[in-house]
Amino acid sequence: MSNRSQLISTGKPFQFDRERDAEFERLSTRYPTRESLILPALWLIQEQEGWICQEALAYAADRIGTFASKLYEAVTFYTMFHLHPMGRNHICVCRTLSCWLLGKQEIVDFLKNEIGITPGQISEDGRFSLEEVECLGHCGTAPVVQVNGEFHENMDAGKLKELLATLP
């Protein structure tokens, strides 16, 4: 397991945009306690910025009315939260058993040749980032790749090549 405790400070204040603000307010009536808003708030930040900086965490803690340390715990525990900027398109390749048996390495190798990045890296032009993740829960249609949150099942190098071509 890696140490994710180094938060990045942008030095700039963070704020939800109009849309996220409204969504946050809508969600806040949904739970019996405000602390239940921790995970949704983290998702909203990530949706807005693509990643989560120190200022955003402090902001969300204030909005929720809880200790910043609690958001710090959650954001470092769940690896799907990005603590630094990612590529414009974030690719997650499942590396757990079913996907592994059915050829996840082929996909990873393909990406290495095609765009020159290995898991954990961001392409030089900032267009792609790659990450290997644990079971995505689509074992029946393994191997599975998740691109910008969307699942792509029964993947292989050829299909992935077509998919990449459609991405910004």
């Binding site: 397991m1 890696s2 140490n3 994710r4 405790s5 938060l7 400070s9 120190q54 965490l57 402090a58 809880t66 200790f67 910043a68 340390s69 609690k70 710090y72 715990e73 470092t76 525990f77």
Partner: protein, 520 residues
């Protein structure tokens, strides 16, 4: 008194208090269930699994003792082979990445990991992969030094900041073997009770910058005391040691459990007040700028007293009831006025509704009980009319600036009995060293009208007297502590069933009548 129930531990019947969890219930009769994360003040968290026990009644094979209430007839298994195996395995897990730096760890001697290793594990390591190394000697704020490697992730420190101080500085970040206690970047621990974290930490992961490496804990002698830092009167353990040829020194104050007064904790300021017991002390008697031995200084005092037609006396609101009553009798005998004026001991707005009080004196309630006037104008008037002021350790520099004091004293001479050599000693005609709070016995009444007693913890080489003894030497009719105590019974009828030093450990709650000075 809580109800008692009977249950079985390893087949042996024991009687325990109902309503407690197994750790506390069985612990009270001397049977240990090892545990890291549970603490009675913080509740159970169930994260360490060190406390797993068996219950022979068809429950799951293992239950955490910290979350299991004791019930009548329960059959608790601690010594079965599968429980021993669990204890070994949990210990092994805890020690996978733990640095074995006990010889240099400041917690050695009071570390639960070390103790439990010796009692429940003692196996060679089976680890073949490299240890995960984490940060060492990190500054976590408020004088707390964190050694991440040693942490067993019991989260006591985290829960203390969230539940007790409600400041929530700490969290456990990351997961699995990267998990570690952290503060949010730029927001280190910042509360007035932070040092309790060091006491709560069962291992050497949180240590005190103030205490680290000053002493091995097994060299320290322990005595019970009452903090004199404010009117709360928190119960403390005074840990001290006299190294060969040296003075007896206090190394730390630790909180001592008293559910009626301070629970498990004390404030940092009170904790650090031990420094004042060690330092800045008045150790020799002086007449003017001349050093005098105690007997000569006393003789000089008696001479001054006998030649002054009008004497004013003042005492400190930190004096014990015994001291107060002795001085009061002395004043009455000499026809002197007596004041407890001490506005300077009050720091308005500093109290926090928890332990810390505005009133930084330990026995202001005692002044009321004994009917000692504390009015400023009355004191100043009395002083103006007197040729001599006998000051029993009242730090008047808290209430007046030096020029104000000089103006007030004008040609009134001052005899000063003081534990500390502050600005006041220089203004005194005669200054006599007396004992500080850790060096004598007595009783106090706190802000909640709880009467508590404390006993002498530390013996200094120059062995200063307490104010009660000094008052006796100056002619108080109450010559011994026993006489002082029986005089106190006239003011406090609750004392009729007690002797000095036999008050209940948790103190005596006075009735409103007693506290507001209705003499028996």
């Amino acid at each position: 008194m809580a109800d008692k129930i009977k249950l079985f531990v390893n087949g042996v019947e024991v009687e325990v208090e109902a309503g407690k969890n197994l750790i506390d219930a069985i612990g009270a009769v001397g049977i240990e269930i090892p545990h890291f994360c549970y603490h009675p003040a913080l509740g159970s968290d169930g994260n360490c699994r060190m406390c797993l026990v068996g219950i022979e009644d068809g429950r799951p094979p293992l239950v955490p003792a910290c979350k299991t209430p004791a019930q009548a007839g329960m059959k608790v298994l601690l010594d079965a082979a599968h429980i021993k195996k669990i204890q070994h395995d949990v210990m092994e897990l805890e020690l996978i990445n733990h640095p074995i730096d006990c010889p240099i760890c400041d917690q050695a001697g009071e570390c639960k990991l070390q103790d439990f290793y010796m009692s429940y594990d003692k196996q060679p390591s089976r680890m073949t992969v490299a240890q995960v190394k984490k940060g060492k000697k990190l500054d976590y704020g408020c004088g707390i030094v964190h050694d991440q490697e040693r942490c067993v992730l019991c989260a006591r420190c985290v829960r203390f900041c969230r539940q007790i101080t409600k400041t929530g500085e700490l969290g456990i970040v990351n997961r699995s073997d990267a998990a570690q206690v952290e503060f949010f970047p730029g927001r280190p621990i910042n509360n007035r009770y932070a040092q309790n974290i060091v006491d709560l930490c069962p291992v050497g992961a949180m240590t005190s910058a103030d205490f680290r490496f000053k002493q091995r804990v097994w060299f320290l002698k322990r005595a019970k005391g009452i903090c004199h830092g404010c009117a709360k009167g928190c119960n403390i353990t005074i840990e001290h040691n006299r190294e060969k040829y040296q003075e007896d020194r206090i190394y730390r104050f630790l909180p001592r459990l008293n559910p009626q007064v301070n629970g498990y904790f004390i404030c940092d300021k009170g904790r650090y007040s031990y420094h004042k017991e060690n330092e800045g002390r008045l150790t020799v008697a002086r007449q003017g700028s001349q050093v005098r031995n105690q007997a000569d200084a006393l003789a000089a005092c008696n001479q001054e007293i006998s030649r002054s037609p009008k004497i004013a006396m003042i005492l400190s609101p930190n004096c014990s009831l015994e001291e107060m009553v002795a001085v009061k009798s002395l004043a009455e005998k000499l026809g002197a006025t007596l004041s407890g004026f001490s506005d300077g001991y009050i720091s308005a707005g500093d109290g926090d509704g928890y332990l810390i009080q505005d009133d930084k004196s330990a026995n202001r309630a005692g002044l009321g009980i004994l009917g000692i006037n504390s009015n400023r104008a009355v004191f100043e008037k009395d002083l103006g009319e007197a040729q001599l002021l006998v000051n029993f350790n009242n730090d008047l520099t808290r209430s007046y600036t030096e020029p104000e004091l000089r103006a007030l004293l004008k040609d009134t001479k001052m005899i000063l009995a003081a534990s500390h050599d502050d600005g006041l000693a220089a203004m005194a005609a005669i200054a006599i060293p007396i004992a500080a709070a850790s060096e004598y016995s007595g009783s106090l009444v706190n802000c909640d009208n709880i009467l508590q007693s404390f006993t002498k913890a530390v013996s200094k080489n120059h062995d200063p007297v307490d104010i009660g003894t000094l008052a006796a030497q100056l002619g108080s009719p109450l010559q011994t502590r026993a006489e002082q105590f029986s005089e106190l019974r006239k003011y406090l009828s609750v004392l009729k069933n007690f002797e000095a030093d036999t008050l209940p450990a948790e103190g005596l709650k006075l009735t409103d009548n007693e506290a507001t000075h209705v003499t028996a």
